[in-house]
């Protein structure tokens, strides 16, 4: 079955009948752009990520493989989308599975699986990483089912505020996931508790 033509027509008829007619002007007096350059974006991002219980390290491009290797030390195996550069994972010694779309949920749910990705853009003010299924981020389930996610952020991917971040996205119709800290709940007495269904370990490497 698909749409019921009578329901569609009736809802649209009701909306037209009830519809307010006066046009509305939207005042956009909020800060649509990032503030003046000079805000220490990296410091702010680190502060906000740590506030939400993500681990963060800063390093140079040369030191990146070693830092990633340290975060992955306890992992039994590693999953990486096809577009993650080989150098990022060069110091991981366990088995590596590159995802070409064939990995199953069971593969990803096995104990000790970690996933290594990049991101599309990061928002300093809120400690948010945005994944847009780009080649170094892959399918959504890769960063969802494993319990341990290591994400590499380049300094030039960091913006101060959300409006600037959304404008950076190449194609908003790709599947998007915005991540701010590890999985958490506020359902018990309205206090934030980390560790529910998403990855409970979120580690971020900021590379300059």
């Amino acid at each position: 079955m698909s749409t019921r033509p009578d329901a569609r027509a009736e809802v649209l008829r009701r909306v037209r009948a009830a519809q307010p007619t006066a046009p509305v002007r939207v005042p956009r007096d909020y800060a649509a752009d990032d503030g003046p350059a000079g805000v220490e974006l990296v410091d702010l991002l680190v502060d906000r990520l740590e506030d939400y219980k993500a681990a963060v390290r800063r390093c140079t491009a040369d030191a990146l493989p070693a830092v990633v290797g340290e975060y992955l030390a306890g992992a039994e195996s590693l999953v990486a989308p096809a577009g993650v550069p080989e150098t990022w994972l060069s110091s991981f010694e366990g088995p590596v599975a590159r995802d070409s779309g064939a990995l199953t949920v069971a593969d990803l749910d096995a104990p000790g699986v970690a996933v290594l990705t990049g991101c599309a853009v990061a928002i300093a003010q809120t400690g948010t990483l945005i994944l847009d299924a780009g080649p170094d981020q892959g399918r959504r389930l890769l960063t969802l089912v494993p319990d341990h996610h290591v994400c590499v952020v380049r300094v030039d991917q960091i913006v101060e505020r959300l409006p600037a971040a959304l404008r950076r996205l190449a194609d908003p119709t790709r599947p998007l996931t915005m991540i701010s800290g590890p999985s958490a709940t506020s359902d018990i007495e309205l206090n934030r508790v980390e560790g529910v269904h998403g990855p409970r370990r979120l580690e971020v490497v900021i590379v300059s």
Binding site: M1, P20, V196
Partner: protein, 478 residues
């Protein structure tokens, strides 16, 4: 209009019942005060909060003004992206559409992301009636479902339970939990929920969600959540069915820059919620390959038709107005008898359910205005409340009703100063023996006639031993 927005008991009756529950009131007080403080802190961090609110309100008003065009635009974009769009006039029709879609997949169990729209239409009950079990996966929804209770808050449906009560519910209702070792430590409770749901997430074929926002220009849906249960339901099943109220639209993707700032800070008091998912139809090789969207009216167009009341349709269900409401804090969500409790429920439920039902809800407020100040889309809830009270009285013209009788008697008494003074004196005499009973609350449920007409619909403060007028007369006569 049908579904779960119709009050079964008048608010005063239900409120009195809930007020007797001391534990409930302690839990609510603790939770609402926690969240209030967090919200104030993170809202205070945003220098352009007020311009964001103004923009948020105007974008939603613009959506309401252009709703027919935007709905058609959304339908076309979502369809082009591979989704199938369905329409439903009311709750019953929406449930029938979803039930048929699930039945067509041959599955008997679905996983659900918390969604006000599906609660509103009573989807779980409708699915159960045709043999389909809907598993709630949001922690608070799971608690409520296991306890065979109903939600009492739009964001945190189990806000009326404290950690010890949650522990007891899990210990007695989760087959896979060791009741002898489970503690009431919140991380331990979160872990129990994770284990309980994990295999279901990984194997269930159909996911059901709502949407916080629907983007007309692209056909994109957005779900804002915390735990990752949303991502599980939106990513792993083969089929995804999303039930979306027609007022959820935003014109363009860029409008999210306003709402994704307003919503998290207003709802959980965080700078950003842990996870936000956005998807547009079907993406080959990533996520559900069959995607349905059900657009639901269910009383929204009736609300739209009221020039004062329609601002309720701006609501983004953040729950800030519940958390700051002195009435909600004392009576809790169940007293409102609708899936939409608190200040927003007091104006939304009566409008969506039409004349007749929910007539007592607009009185469930002190008109203190805290809800308006907290509302990220500047819904003037007190204004709508007064408007609905007025139309409630108007609608009852010619018919006897408690409010109408009260208003008429009070206006008779208050029109004449001597009559009013005499009534107050009578009330004081009548109240003297009650002073001990009323105690610290100093509020009375029954005043002697003629003021009894007033207390038949609300409590009144105890009359003072001496009125201001009497005090003034005495002080100034000497």
């Amino acid at each position: 209009m049908s579904g779960n927005v119709v009050t079964r008991l008048p608010f005063p009756v239900a409120a009195r019942r809930e007020l007797g529950d001391e534990q409930l009131r302690r839990n609510l007080r603790k939770a609402t005060h926690t969240i209030r403080d967090k919200r104030l802190r993170v809202v205070g961090e945003v220098p352009d909060w007020e311009p964001l609110r103004v923009a948020g309100a105007a974008i939603k008003d613009d959506v309401l003004a252009r709703l027919p065009d935007l709905l058609e635009q959304f339908e076309a974009a979502a369809t082009a992206a591979g989704a199938t769009v369905h329409w439903a006039r009311d709750a019953e029709e929406a449930c029938a559409v979803v039930a048929a879609l699930v039945q067509a997949t041959g599955t008997a169990e679905v996983v659900k992301v918390k969604s006000m729209a599906t609660q509103e239409i009573g989807l779980n009950e409708a699915l159960e009636a045709v043999g389909i079990h809907a598993v709630e996966t949001d922690l608070a929804e799971l608690i409520v479902q296991l306890a065979e209770d109903t939600p009492s808050h739009i964001l945190v449906p189990a806000i009326h339970y404290n950690r010890t009560q949650i522990r007891d519910i899990f210990a007695s209702k989760m087959a896979d939990v060791d009741a002898t070792t489970l503690t009431d430590d919140p991380p331990a409770l979160a872990e129990a929920a994770r284990r309980h749901l994990r295999s279901r997430f990984l194997s269930t074929k159909v996911g059901i969600s709502g949407a916080n926002f629907a983007i007309a220009s692209t056909g994109t849906l957005a779900v804002v959540e915390s735990e990752g249960n949303g991502r599980m339901c939106l990513t792993l099943p083969e089929t995804l069915i999303s039930v979306v109220g027609i007022e959820k639209l935003l014109p363009t993707f860029a409008d999210l820059e306003v709402f994704l700032q307003l919503l998290p800070r207003s709802s959980t008091g965080e700078r950003m919620n842990p996870y936000t998912s956005l998807w547009t139809g079907v993406t080959p090789g990533d996520g559900p390959q069959t995607v349905h969207i059900v657009l639901v009216d269910n009383g929204r167009t009736d609300t739209l038709a009221d020039p004062v009341g329609r601002q309720a349709l701006r609501c983004i269900r953040c729950s800030a107005c519940l958390n700051v409401c002195p009435v909600y804090e004392r009576v809790g969500g169940h007293a409102y008898g609708s899936v939409y409790p608190g200040p927003i429920g007091a104006i939304l439920s009566p409008q969506m359910s039409g004349e007749g039902a929910n007539r007592t809800l607009p009185y469930a407020s002190t008109l203190c205005g805290a809800c308006f100040d907290a509302c990220p889309v500047r819904i003037d809830i007190p204004q709508v409340l007064v408007h609905l009270r007025q139309s409630g009285v108007d609608a009852a013209r010619g018919r006897p009703s408690a409010e109408r009788t009260a208003m008429r008697t009070m206006s008779y008494v208050m029109r004449d100063r001597r009559r009013y003074a005499a009534a107050l004196r009578a009330a004081r005499r009548g109240a003297a023996p009650l002073r001990m009973v009323a105690g610290r609350r100093g509020a009375l449920r029954r005043l002697p006639w003629p003021l009894s007409a007033w207390t038949s619909v609300r409590d009144a403060p105890l009359p003072p031993k001496q009125t201001f007028r009497e005090w003034w007369a005495r002080e100034h006569s000497s």
